[in-house]
Amino acid sequence: DAGITQSPRHKVTETGTPVTLRCHQTENHRYMYWYRQDPGHGLRLIHYSYGVKDTDKGEVSDGYSVSRSKTEDFLLTLESATSSQTSVYFCAISPTVSGTGSSYEQYFGPGTRLTVT
């Protein structure tokens, strides 16, 4: 158990409404990531964070924003949800990504299933 929780676990929302998904970790790791999972695409990176207030875009960032005001929380916001954002969203953390002992493996939260109608 890597100490990662996501909330909510399931959400149904209407097109055009804002949605915020929360990722919380108890491991105090510096690196956090948001992915979406869609059939035929595997997991694709939306945004990632390499420290408090340090974030950057991933492969599929359009329509999404993130914030990280504390080490333990990484928020993903859909400013105006669209049907194409219906997906399963995963948060992940990585213990080390540089220097001695770097390993690059990521540990994932349980996922959030989001449906936009």
């Binding site: 990531y33 997991l43 990632y48 992940a92 996922g111």
Partner: protein, 115 residues
């Protein structure tokens, strides 16, 4: 850009038999890592095994082992003595180098173990 390709959308195997899942990748990095993740019906992503590119020895974790062919950019997963609990989606992933730990995933292979 890094890419990962899993060319087998679905595979099946009989319980107690051996199965191999294929993965090819492309990267310009010299220092990288490869992973296999398992996603059972519960949806939880579980790390199965990892391989450091600078290590020539293939990684092994109990019934799971890899065949890492660096020159061919191939990274296959072998599951021995398959069990019903191995039924899951399996993802190959590539990370490392200067990428802030970002992972690039393949499309996944659905493995079904039959009794």
């Amino acid at each position: 850009a890094q890419t990962v390709t899993q060319s087998q959308p679905e595979m099946s195997v009989q319980e107690a038999e051996t199965v191999t899942l294929s993965c090819t990748y492309d990267t310009s990095e010299n220092n990288y890592y490869l992973f296999w993740y398992k996603q059972p019906p519960s949806r939880q992503m579980i790390l199965v095994i990892r391989q450091e590119a600078y290590k020539q020895q293939n990684a092994t974790e109990n019934r799971f082992s890899v065949n890492f062919q660096k020159a061919a950019k191939s990274f296959s997963l072998k599951i021995s003595d398959s069990q019903l609990g191995d039924t899951a989606m399996y993802f190959c992933a590539l990370g490392g180098g200067t990428s802030y730990g970002k992972l690039t995933f393949g499309q996944g292979t659905i493995l079904t173990v039959h009794p």
